[in-house]
Subunit: 259 residues, 2 copies
Amino acid sequence: MTARLDLEYDGTEFAGWALQPGRRTVEAELRRALETVLRAPPQALTVAGRTDAGVHASGQVVSLAGPPPSPSSLNALLPADVAVLGSAQAPDGFDARADARSRSYVYRVLHRRARQALERRRVLWWPRRLDRDLLHACAALLPGRHDFTAFTPAETLHRHFRRTVLAAGWDEQGDELRFTIEADAFLRHMNRALVGTMLEVAGGRRELAAFEALLAGAPREAAGFTAPPHGLCLTAVRYVVPAPRLTPAGAATGSSRST
Amino acid sequence: MTARLDLEYDGTEFAGWALQPGRRTVEAELRRALETVLRAPPQALTVAGRTDAGVHASGQVVSLAGPPPSPSSLNALLPADVAVLGSAQAPDGFDARADARSRSYVYRVLHRRARQALERRRVLWWPRRLDRDLLHACAALLPGRHDFTAFTPAETLHRHFRRTVLAAGWDEQGDELRFTIEADAFLRHMNRALVGTMLEVAGGRRELAAFEALLAGAPREAAGFTAPPHGLCLTAVRYVVPAPRLTPAGAATGSSRST
């Protein structure tokens, strides 16, 4: 059996998702809670999006071996900044990372002169010039398959730099601008470097044509700054609905699921 | 001269607005910053809404004597959880408390089974039964002038308990329910006791007719629980536009303003 967990967390006080010796991470907290509930260390645990330090998630997905553990038992053990939203049986062999077809992120920007207080852990405050038409024009260039080398640190473990953006766009709600992007996968820091570079274009500090050129595999130093992590949130992961598997008797079994 | 400041703050780590010896309060932080910027203690400082410990504000208003201080100077001195949104010259003698015609608050409730993590400082998690029609029916009873004795602590400094609700209603955005209320003024804990009592009606634990009866001056113990402060936010204060004052020469002067 394989279980699927859906999680939300406030990344502010975490050193990111992945286990790191001596650091407080979401994975460490989840493994500790699972070990208590399962009375054994979790097996074959994978995650859809390995978020960086300070990045939030409202739709993170994890898979692990075994029957689905009780969300309320896990939530009673987890700290206040991580919550299990759901736990369900997944198709045998379901892998939250390998089976994901796309991840969606949102980056929030508060564009106003006055400093903020209320949403300071969730939204980037950006008091500088920002041409909204240029933001939209940048986002419109993103869908498709591109080489994002310019948007990930030069010292990288990635070996392939092409990713497919399925959708990207900015929307506005008063002073707040939200960048939504869905891609098959993301390079490390890719979202934050995209946002930082788009803010530079929208501030008149680089040309729209230069932004487009970055998508063809320019070096990291050709792109803009890496926007801070606290504006970013992993909001959804999409999986294909598995085809029903046939039992020897020919009856359809297996749970189907789409996200 | 009189100055008007517009403020936002995250109430989580404050013991409320008002000065209290040995406690961290918004007023204490603001007075400290003003004293540095003005090089003297602020004079005649009043506030529109004396929020309780843990209650947030996105539209708090303060008045004080003198020319408007620079928002950026104040923001550089204030801690991250308080921000000055604006500073302007107000009509002579403007009093943020006495001149306010109404205050508006929003109380946010997350109605779902799963515990939350991301908005845990801003939204009440409410996993119990909640009949949304009953919430709407409760709110529809609130506009008008009522005796709110049942919705404020029995040991009170208030001497008058009638307040006029100008507007009240619940709206829904997915799992989130938001209660918005505008009144001429509020008794201590009034919003939170109203929300707690409405949640009890919507959970089937008290009758809608009993809720209506509470608005005629029942004792505190007749109403429901006081919902926790972290779901509540002061969002706006309304002032009348002052009539232009005539100078001896007959020319119109004075700034007019509406909020």
